[in-house]
Symmetry: C3
Subunit: 354 residues, 3 copies
Amino acid sequence: MSQNAPNLQELAQLVNAQLIKVTDAAIRKVATLRDAARDSISFYMNTRYQGDLQNTQAGAVILRAEHAADCPTSALIVDDPYHAYAVIASHLHPRDLAPAGIHPTAIVAEDVQLGENVAIGAYAVIHAGANIGAGTEIGSGCFIGKKAVIGANSWLADNVSIGASCVVGSNAIIHPGVVIGADGFGFAPGGGSWQKIPQLGRVCIGDDVEIGANSTLDRGTLDDTVIEDGVKIDNLVHIGHNAHVGESTVIAGCAVVAGSTIIGKNCIIGGATAITGHIEIADGVTLMGMTGVTGSIREAGVYASPLPAQPVKEWRRNTVRYTQLDEVFRRVKSLERELENLKESEALALHQAS
Amino acid sequence: MSQNAPNLQELAQLVNAQLIKVTDAAIRKVATLRDAARDSISFYMNTRYQGDLQNTQAGAVILRAEHAADCPTSALIVDDPYHAYAVIASHLHPRDLAPAGIHPTAIVAEDVQLGENVAIGAYAVIHAGANIGAGTEIGSGCFIGKKAVIGANSWLADNVSIGASCVVGSNAIIHPGVVIGADGFGFAPGGGSWQKIPQLGRVCIGDDVEIGANSTLDRGTLDDTVIEDGVKIDNLVHIGHNAHVGESTVIAGCAVVAGSTIIGKNCIIGGATAITGHIEIADGVTLMGMTGVTGSIREAGVYASPLPAQPVKEWRRNTVRYTQLDEVFRRVKSLERELENLKESEALALHQAS
Amino acid sequence: MSQNAPNLQELAQLVNAQLIKVTDAAIRKVATLRDAARDSISFYMNTRYQGDLQNTQAGAVILRAEHAADCPTSALIVDDPYHAYAVIASHLHPRDLAPAGIHPTAIVAEDVQLGENVAIGAYAVIHAGANIGAGTEIGSGCFIGKKAVIGANSWLADNVSIGASCVVGSNAIIHPGVVIGADGFGFAPGGGSWQKIPQLGRVCIGDDVEIGANSTLDRGTLDDTVIEDGVKIDNLVHIGHNAHVGESTVIAGCAVVAGSTIIGKNCIIGGATAITGHIEIADGVTLMGMTGVTGSIREAGVYASPLPAQPVKEWRRNTVRYTQLDEVFRRVKSLERELENLKESEALALHQAS
């Protein structure tokens, strides 16, 4: 909650909103239309909540011009209320910054370069040659490998692991338990066992990237694994070695991107999606949740593959049928052929009969 | 292994069992029928193991009355041997409790409230305003955020992360690497990039909840993410922001529950299941493993969707056919129509011929 | 990068290669054909890269005899260039070993047995009765439970958790965030709630095993969970209690093996694959990525089940059709029967007409 409540004009300016029904409400926080009190700002887009809007106690509401008539309080008129809400919420509720400084229990190698106002948490371990940008916070229990580079104003939460030589950009948010730069999964078969292939590349992550809890991004084999600017990755996502994720692509929870796959810009990868290795996904592709991608996708658009849950009896019947799919096509083909023959011979019979 | 071996009467009493063929065996542990020695108790339910029962060296066996005749040793007669076994095993093999006290390397903020007999492990970090209930053990390397609340007699294993203001109930078991209260995955699109939406809700977890290793439960956006009493969650499970999991529901490994989804009570969610966001699952729903749920399920029952593994050649044929499924239905429809026509014209022909 | 550059003869000897066009190039590292300079060795197998081979600046290339004519520089002739490359890369790029010794902040219980040249990182916690083999490195923030055993020359990266009594063999590589020996997911239903079943087995891991970041391997209920020698497991993989993974099997990222399942030797389990519990997979089975295995697989071979991503409109149509699959089979069956009748009555008609 912000200490100095901004007045409505300030908030309106922040999102280029037209302000109507101005009051002197001191807005301190965001809230839902239902829960909002006079110190709160809310937003409205979905007409399903029209009643909530009409009855809201909010100090102000962000909405489109077409809905202003229903608003009983101050309104910030914008084209995209959801985006404006996100900007205002971020302004009213900034992250709770740790005070700058190095916790006495943090272990920071002598030649580590630290920018101004860096905050290093308890029991963090930062190895030789690492470089931490100004204003960046390293949480407790984090591990930063040799020569790793973290940009400015980034936040690594607790127990994050950054491997040697990996690079994280500025304004990053890395949630607890994330592992960046573990070895990629590379082995050569031979003589009944597997020979490890050293993983010598890095993970290079651009600016404005967020990575969810316990996700893992493996280092490349020879080249780097690359995450471009503005990418947002949810929890428990796995990014294989040498993968490349394009600018502003978002990847939802439990998705897996196998090695050497190239994902374009502005893609939306649904949760629990599995993308095989060594393929390309074009810019602007949306994959619905639980989709399996077994080959390249060359055109922007929405793609899917999950089967819907069915009552178990139907599922049993249909999955058996699925394994006979090719057979049913052959049977239909054969029916079509026979029917054709029959029609011909019938035509003949009719002809003879006539 | 228990130090003071309970005698059989005590164990029988614990599960309201009728005791037959009483001996003075001192039961110290549980074991399988095959491996059990005279100091062990075992259980029997499945007639597949009748031979093991007849030859067991166990000091006692938990079983149903109908199987007592096959038991060569003391028997505890109950209706549900598996449940009775679980109760007795828990009694004989209590968790190895850490001695109460704060490890000298733990960092506990001044105003943290600690109940009696709390145990705080090495290198744990507990932030200001947190509250840890009596008898609770916080493992080494755990991170407890500001104002987080942990109930009584709970156990957080090593490297668990609890975000600020989150609540965990009593008698919880939280396995290593679990992350509770990382930010939910919320961004508003706009201008080709994504604006972060602050995640201001908490995760609120009831009593008697167990959460498996490296699972992640995200905090809500405005409201809370809620896990009710008695829920059991396996490893590597992801629970999205604002999800609500009802009482005594179990969720197996690698399942994902997307944001704002409401799961009822007493559900059984199979492993690797993916449940989309903003839907409702009724009480008493069982989802078989690897099921995809793309819409609400309104009625209790068993549901499934996974396709079975097939030899790769058949799979290739059938998946191609799958992409032509709509076509085959249209072809069958057309065959049906033509056949109808043919039958009519044939009837006519026969009529004319007669 | 190796300090003392081996000469080509040494490298050739290492992989039993025939060396042709010998130069005095000092090879210090591996690189791709394109990026390699005179101090680098590369490999060539795929004729797609023939141009890269012909233009390479590498000091030497590993390839098959049939491709030697295209090689403008020293060549190491072998039957399996990829495997030879892996051996040479491992030789040129050994892991950056931590200096032996116990970091002053590591907490090692008094009776822990440490082999020679063990390295224990900062803030590691090693409990009573544990045994760490010679030359093994325990990373910072690792947790080693009571009586756990780690073999020789193994490497546990940062924040690895090994539960009490678990066993890890020699030459292991365990990446950050791995949890070995958390409780298996075992509960007995009864009276509307779930009674925990104590998990009393161990996880026993053989030699030469690698386990990827944030994977979890649960301890057995009464018997052990077993990972045999030479198994390689990728990131975010879950292995349930009492599972058994045979020698030299590899398991790719985000796969899940449910409890009590037995996987044979030399299997290749694709990423995001889900294998149900209590089944058996034969030796030599390959499962393609995202395959669901709902029953035992008795014969070696390649198996698959994922559906391919489709444009969302087609997917919607086809998934509806999928739920009607049984119906289409019944309709085809009925068409076949009617057609048969029709042919008979037509034959009759023709007979009568003739």
